[in-house]
Every structure is written in structure tokens, then in C-alpha cells.
């Protein structure tokens, strides 16, 4: 009897190891990238996926490029620079956390092993403020989007290189959670992120063409014409959830941080090019 149980236990371990080696994050990532390469062979070089829907819409691209010549996010970068350089009551500033010019975009999101959670840049900004006795900023727009725009701008050209450390199973669990989120249908209209940004990417919902998810995390924050202002990635997540009549999650809560971890890992190798302008 004892032997049988041991054998069963052994069998289970063997199974989980082989399952992990069959479909680990790295295999996921390659399949994900391949999916978009096959679906949009016209996007060349592959790095152009950083331009979202414009990478697949030559007709809209020209107008977008002319908008980018006088970028509507320029004011936000300037405002962000002021906030970034502002001296706190204790004499320090955001520079003490993020260096002279805040060009740290490539460090986020990352797995924080001590705390067992995904760290994002916006969360790190607020933690820096609070650690220095300053008031935290709201996550979706305004001052936060401005600081983030300034830091992203100074980080342009850095490459997404998210790691899922193999020595901490909680990191893989966070990744799996984000992945499940991406593929799970939800809301009254019963949509998964993948329904729009994978299975029907490039197709039109009315006149709106849906962007490929490969490249989604590169260009934040964005100035969106529809918002008439800046917004962060988690604001966009919440907007897409609203559209499918699902309850949005909290910006910078665990769900959206894990989702950002997953989609960023999927886009590894692409360049950060935020901030950007969008319709």
C-alpha cells in the first residue's frame, strides 16, 4: 500500500515537471509571437508592433504620424519633468528613487521576491512618494500619467525583458494568473481580452479596428483623443472591461498587475516607445 502511494506521488511530480516543460512561459511567448507574425506578415520589421493598431493600418498611419509630429503628450512630459525634479518636504525627490532622469522603464514590470508580488513602474512611483512622506498619486491619469510619460520618454528604446524567476514558484503563479485573465471570457457581453486582441485582431468592430496584443505594453502612457488627456495602461484595461460590461478591477491591484506581467512577458524583445498618441 505504502509503495503504491509513493508511486502515485512520484507519478504526479513527474507529470507536473513534464507539463511545465511542455508549456512554460517561454513556449507560450514564442507561440504568441508566432501567432501575430503569421496573422500580420505585413508588419515589418517585427518591432513595428510597438505602434499598436497603426502597425496594421497603413491608411490611418499617415494621419497618426502627422499627429506624432506635434505630439499631444508633450505638455504631459513637461509637467512630469517638473514633478520628477520637485524637491520633497524632506529634501529628497523622485530622483533619489529613479536616478537623475528616471530612465528606468525597462525595469518594470518585475517580480519582487521579498514581497512576493509584481512591481510596476506606477506602483514604484507611489511607493517612493509615500516612503518620503509625500501624498500618493491617482493611478489612471493626471500627475501619475505625467510622471510616467516623462520617465517613459527618457527610456525610449529600452527593450522589454520581463523575467519569471524560476526559483520562486509564486512568480510563475502570478504569470499564470495574468494569462488566465487574458484568455477568460467575462462580463455581460462575454469577451476575453484574447477574443478581441488575438482572435479578431485586425478586424473591425464598426469602424474600429482592434489592435494586436503583441506590442500592447510598449507605448504607455498614451494621450487618447477620446479621453482628451493622458491615461495609463491600467486605465485602458478598465476601459476595455467597461466596454464588455464587466466590472473593472482596481488600477494597480493584483489582477491588473499580473495581467501587465503576462502581456509584458509576451512582448519581450519589443522596445518601449511611450508615451504615444492614440485615437
Amino acid at each position: 500500500m505504502k509503495k503504491i502511494i509513493r508511486n502515485v506521488a512520484f507519478g504526479l511530480v513527474g507529470l507536473s515537471v513534464s507539463a511545465a516543460s511542455v508549456a512554460g512561459p517561454e513556449e507560450d511567448r514564442q507561440a504568441f509571437r508566432k501567432f501575430y507574425e503569421n496573422r500580420f506578415p505585413q508588419v515589418q520589421p517585427i518591432g513595428d508592433f510597438q505602434n499598436g493598431v497603426y502597425s496594421i493600418l497603413p491608411a490611418a498611419r499617415e494621419q497618426w504620424e502627422s499627429i506624432e509630429e506635434f505630439p499631444p503628450y508633450e505638455l504631459a512630459i513637461e509637467e512630469g519633468e517638473k514633478i520628477f525634479n520637485k524637491t520633497f518636504a524632506n529634501g529628497k525627490s523622485l530622483k533619489d528613487c529613479f536616478g537623475e532622469d528616471g530612465a528606468v522603464r525597462e525595469q518594470y514590470p518585475h517580480w519582487n521576491k521579498e514581497r512576493g508580488m509584481v512591481m510596476t513602474m506606477e506602483l514604484a512611483i507611489n511607493e517612493c512618494l509615500e516612503a518620503n512622506g509625500e501624498k500618493p498619486l491617482k493611478y489612471k491619469k493626471g500627475a501619475m500619467a505625467a510622471v510616467s510619460a516623462y520617465m517613459a520618454y527618457n527610456s525610449r528604446g529600452q527593450v522589454i525583458n520581463v523575467e519569471i524567476p524560476s526559483d520562486d514558484p509564486r512568480a510563475l503563479a502570478a504569470y499564470e494568473d495574468g494569462k488566465e485573465h487574458f484568455y477568460t471570457k467575462r462580463g455581460q457581453l462575454n469577451f476575453a481580452c484574447a477574443d478581441c486582441h488575438m482572435h479578431t485582431s485586425g478586424m473591425n468592430y464598426r469602424s474600429e479596428t482592434v489592435s494586436p496584443a503583441f506590442g500592447h505594453p510598449t507605448n504607455w502612457p498614451v494621450y487618447r483623443a477620446k479621453w482628451q488627456e493622458m491615461g495609463t495602461l491600467h486605465r485602458r484595461f478598465a476601459g476595455c472591461h467597461d466596454n464588455i460590461r464587466a466590472n473593472p478591477f482596481k488600477a494597480q491591484g493584483e489582477e491588473y498587475r499580473n495581467l501587465e506581467y503576462f502581456i509584458s512577458y509576451m512582448s519581450n524583445g519589443l522596445e518601449f516607445n511611450g508615451p504615444a498618441a492614440r485615437k
Binding site: Q188, L189, N190, F191, D195, C196, H199, T200, M203, N204, Y205, R206, S207, E208
Partner: protein, 114 residues
């Protein structure tokens, strides 16, 4: 609403000229619901005759009588398209209460007329 529809059905069984007027009424009401952005919003994904800038996520809704000789099948597809294809991106209009049963009946009348 239900009463109206019942009248329409009874009428179509009994008096032909009256029936077509009632049908036309149901079709017009169904069209309004199908086109309404907060209701059916079908044009987001489907081309239908007369639509400007329809989406192309789903197939064009044409020749519906030929494709759905049986109205009940058409109703089933709109009530819960995931029954036939769990991966579909078409919302389950009846199952998820996006439309009421009465609204769905009217939409079926309209779509069947396309």
C-alpha cells in the same frame, strides 16, 4: 410587448392582410433594437443591408430565410451563440439578459426578414 406579438402571430394565422401589417411592425421594431447601440448593436460586427460602416467580425446577415428555414434555430443562435461555438465572440444576447425575451423575438423577426 408579449401581447402584441401574440396578436401578430394570431393575426398571421387568421387574416393574411392584417398579418403582413403586424409583421412589418414587428420587423421595424426588431430593426430598431438590432441597430440600437445599447441594445443589439449587431452592426458592430455584422454587415446588414443599409448599414453604414458595419463591422466585419461576424458574417454578413443576408439571405437569412435560406440559411435559417427554421426561425427557432435563428433564435437559438442569437439567444446563446456559445452553445454552437464556445469560442465565439458573439455575445449571448438571451442567456446573459442583454435583450429581454420580447426584444429577442422582435430581433429574430427582423433578422429573418433580411
Amino acid at each position: 410587448m408579449k401581447g402584441q406579438l401574440l396578436t401578430a402571430i394570431l393575426a398571421s394565422a387568421l387574416v393574411a392582410p392584417l398579418a403582413s401589417a403586424a409583421d412589418a411592425d414587428a420587423i421595424a421594431k426588431g430593426k430598431e433594437i438590432a441597430w440600437h447601440r445599447q441594445k443589439g448593436n449587431c452592426l458592430t460586427c455584422h454587415m446588414v443591408e443599409g448599414a453604414e460602416m458595419p463591422g466585419n467580425v461576424g458574417p454578413p446577415l443576408v439571405a437569412m430565410k435560406a440559411r435559417y428555414p427554421n426561425k427557432a434555430d435563428l433564435r437559438a443562435q442569437i439567444w446563446d451563440p456559445t452553445a454552437r461555438n464556445p469560442m465565439t465572440s458573439m455575445p449571448p444576447f438571451g442567456k446573459n439578459h442583454i435583450l429581454s425575451e420580447e426584444e429577442l423575438d422582435l430581433v429574430v423577426e427582423y433578422v429573418h426578414s433580411l
